[in-house]
Amino acid sequence: METILLLAHTEPDGTLAKPALEALTAALALGGELTIGLAGAETAPAANQVAACGAKRYLAVTGEPFAQARYSTDTAAAEALCRAAGASIVLAPSTSRWARALAGVACRLGGRIDTHATNFAKQNGAPAVTRWFYRQRMEAVLSRAQRPWMVLLDPGCFAPWSGPAGEANVEAVPLDAPPTRTEVTGVQAPKADEQTIRPDAKLLFVAGAGWTKKQADGAVHAAEAEGLIRGFLRASKASLGGSKSLVDLSGEGEAVLRFMTHLNQVGQTGSTPRHPKGLSTCCHGEEPHVVGWRFIHQRRAINLDANCGWARGKADVLYVADAFEVMRRVNELLAR
């Protein structure tokens, strides 16, 4: 029987965020003896939040030095929790914080790590990870003999655990903060109304390079494209993705979509976001249609090319139309 440690870092208010609760669901489904390990400035609210989940032990590294997302302190906290728990399997949500730190912890413990797991469940009686290789091109199921085996679970793959709060008996794991030369000084984010990346949005809007090409009148209408896209994002609260070709144009300083950065890029060298719906516009190519929306459930595309080989077979609906015209009408309807 495997022993399982769920590692979670707490939020500024001391509670657990959704990805941690999703990982808890996965940990409980594995069926072994479960320990919950918490790290953060405050950990009691998080322990109490999941007090009814059935975990056998609650361990915590608590203190102000562990509030910040920083490699040296996060690895120290996670290592201490792993050693205290002595678990054979360590499961954690794939947050940017744990993704930065836990591979280093696996190295320190002589264990192994698998990241970007989309499933972690028993197959033929043994735990097995499902994950994608070659940027979402192929899917593999694998298992490991080494222990501890650390697994980072991608968000959105399991339903978040829910249950009544209670009072957990938390065992403190004493740890002095390690010396560090790094200080986290803040977060840079676009203003709320300029934010185009919205992980929790119901819709992903993918813009392709066609928006910056010459239109029927022989002219480029980049400013109009920018207005239409921004107007749609504001009205629909969709998240914005861009094809590589469009994002590269922006990076080269051309007068195109000024709000488009490499952070928006979807596909092979971009992200593969998870949203219930996706609408691609003026896109042609494998990356936006295949890799970029691998995890998009309902997909529609607007494209002037009825024979677009990438939209056909990958989208549910392909509208053969001028995206400028359609999105102008869509924005009018959304404004009513």
Partner: protein, 270 residues
Amino acid sequence: MSTALQIVVCGSIVPDPLQTLEPVIGAGGPSLKNEMMLPAVLDPWAAHALYEAAHLAQKTPGSKVWLVSLGPKAKLQQVMMTVAQKAPFELVALDGPASGFTDSFETAAALAAAIEAIPGLDRARLLLFGGWESASRGAGSTMQMVGERLGITEQFQGVDQLTVREDGSFEILERIEGGRHQVSTCAAPPAVLGWATGHLPEPRNNPQVGMQNMRAVMPALQRAKAAAIGNSGLSFASVSLPKQQRETRIVKNMRAEEIAREIVAWIAEE
């Protein structure tokens, strides 16, 4: 800027993203069909790391860049013909697999050993660069393990910007959730930086830099030690391509107003 830096970039090769990939499972585990025949490129995020390293070294007199690359020697040679024209560096080659199915733990051990063996490397001035993930394994775990093996505990991943200050400290922007960046300062090297895209465009080919690099690249490839990367303890139950093919409804000759109405109704559906 006073302190000369020693920048080691870890980066391997991946199949050209435009190639169709098909997995095959053999006695030694999974691999790609006709893997040795596929055209290869320098891994995109590692390439960004190399360009950022070269840019930083150019701005910091006395600095030097090494590229440590693990891959099949013949494929490395092909890729270096192009990469060598992009930026000045000294190649440290390891002859071994560049497959996405190799384990990051053992890959990190081989890379760390190669870095430790670089003559005259000053760890106090070391910045260890690489891509934050590869386009093959995509694990985002190798650089941290290389750093751990070299005793470097100042690490940053998903880096889009590095600004070195006059006093030798530096500011780092790392990608975090929701399209935001975490801003940190690090007082001094050594540090590990796993690069995302950064801000620099791909440099134009410079034949002069290429010729200068290739004088050292060929001997480095000849010296490349074999790195046996076993996948001990790792077993693959299956590797498969997604079969999902959708029945696409092609809508032609519908007026823009009607399409817009349909899209708005679809967006509103729960």
